[in-house]
């Protein structure tokens, strides 16, 4: 797309907005949240239905209170959805949001291009 193309200003504005959004610290995941998200990604990949209780009781992510707090933080940052189970309304299921699906796709694309790059080098 040339600089004189009418759509290029629109694209520049979108890139500017993306750069501006990254200024606020609220988008960033803490290391613990990123670790939890990666663990959730693995469970989703294995098609396991994951509930909030499963995460809290696993012990992998700290105490129950800490695990719950990190889940809520991931939800507030838009990475997961906590949906009520249709069979038991007391149970909440942890599902990936569109944001998390984008994150997974980015990871896949990154790994694929890395693999392709290393193949070319070899």
């Amino acid at each position: 797309m040339s600089a004189k193309h009418p759509g290029s200003e629109h694209i520049k504005i979108l890139y500017l907005m993306s750069a501006l959004r990254s200024l606020a610290p609220m988008r960033k995941l803490s290391a613990d949240e990123a670790w939890l998200l990666d663990a959730l990604v693995l469970r989703w990949h294995e098609h396991e239905e994951l509930t909030v209780s499963d995460v809290m009781s696993s012990g992998e992510f700290g105490s129950q209170t800490t695990s719950y707090r990190r889940l809520i933080s991931l939800r507030d940052k838009g990475f997961i959805n906590l949906t009520v189970c249709s069979e038991d309304r007391r149970v909440k299921i942890v599902e990936p949001s569109e944001h998390a699906r984008m994150y997974i796709r980015e990871l896949e694309n990154g790994i694929t291009s890395l693999a392709q790059g290393s193949n070319k080098l070899a």
Partner: protein
């Protein structure tokens, strides 16, 4: 013949709508700058040490956004808007024009310098928050230096470091307020979309 007339008409109407769109964008950009200038004057006039040096200058953010997003049109809007707001401080039209031109062109030097230090592509595809911070600092510095240099050459007293520093501080703080505010708004807007 009819086909030629139709195609000429469509070219004419396409050119007209393109020109109208250009003028409308130009008017909106200039208007936004003037509005922010007046808002800054209302809110932070008490922080000013002179008419062109204040501890907070919100329109400095637009001096960065306009050239980046809109190129020459953005710079022209800055110059035009600067020319509109300056009259109350300078009666000589040439002096006003020079100050307005500085307002639009000083950021170009800052952006060019930033690009040398930390490259970003012309379409801004690799622009990050760090680039924004660097560009803000560079533009504030270029504005402070060029403005005070011009004022001195135009016959004012030799500018003090305090005065240069105040212009720099005003641009940096104004840009920071606007950019972090925009960043929060954009993040909250995204967050609201993702709420279950």
């Amino acid at each position: 013949m009819r086909r030629a007339r139709t195609s000429l008409r469509s070219i004419g109407s396409g050119t007209l709508s393109s020109a109208l769109r250009y003028l409308l964008t130009f008017a909106m950009l200039s208007g936004a700058w003037v509005w922010l200038y007046k808002l800054n004057a209302m809110a932070f006039d008490w922080l000013a040490i002179s008419w062109h040096a204040s501890a907070i200058f919100l329109p400095a953010a637009l001096r960065i956004l306009y050239p980046l997003a809109f190129g020459a049109r953005g710079i022209a809007a800055l110059v035009f808007a600067g020319y509109i707001v300056i009259p109350q401080y300078a009666s000589d039209p040439l002096h006003r024009l020079a100050l307005a031109a500085l307002s639009g062109l000083a950021p170009v030097a800052g952006i060019a310098a930033s690009n040398r230090i930390m490259y970003f592509s012309p379409d801004l595809s690799n622009l990050t928050g760090r680039h924004i911070l660097l560009i803000s600092t560079a533009c504030a510095l270029s504005n402070a230096v060029f403005l005070n240099a011009y004022l001195w050459l135009a016959g004012s007293e030799l500018p003090s470091f305090a005065h240069i520093g105040m212009v720099f501080l005003g641009d940096v703080s104004g840009a920071a307020i606007v950019f972090f505010g925009l960043s929060l708004i954009l993040n909250l807007k995204i967050k609201a979309r993702f709420q279950p």
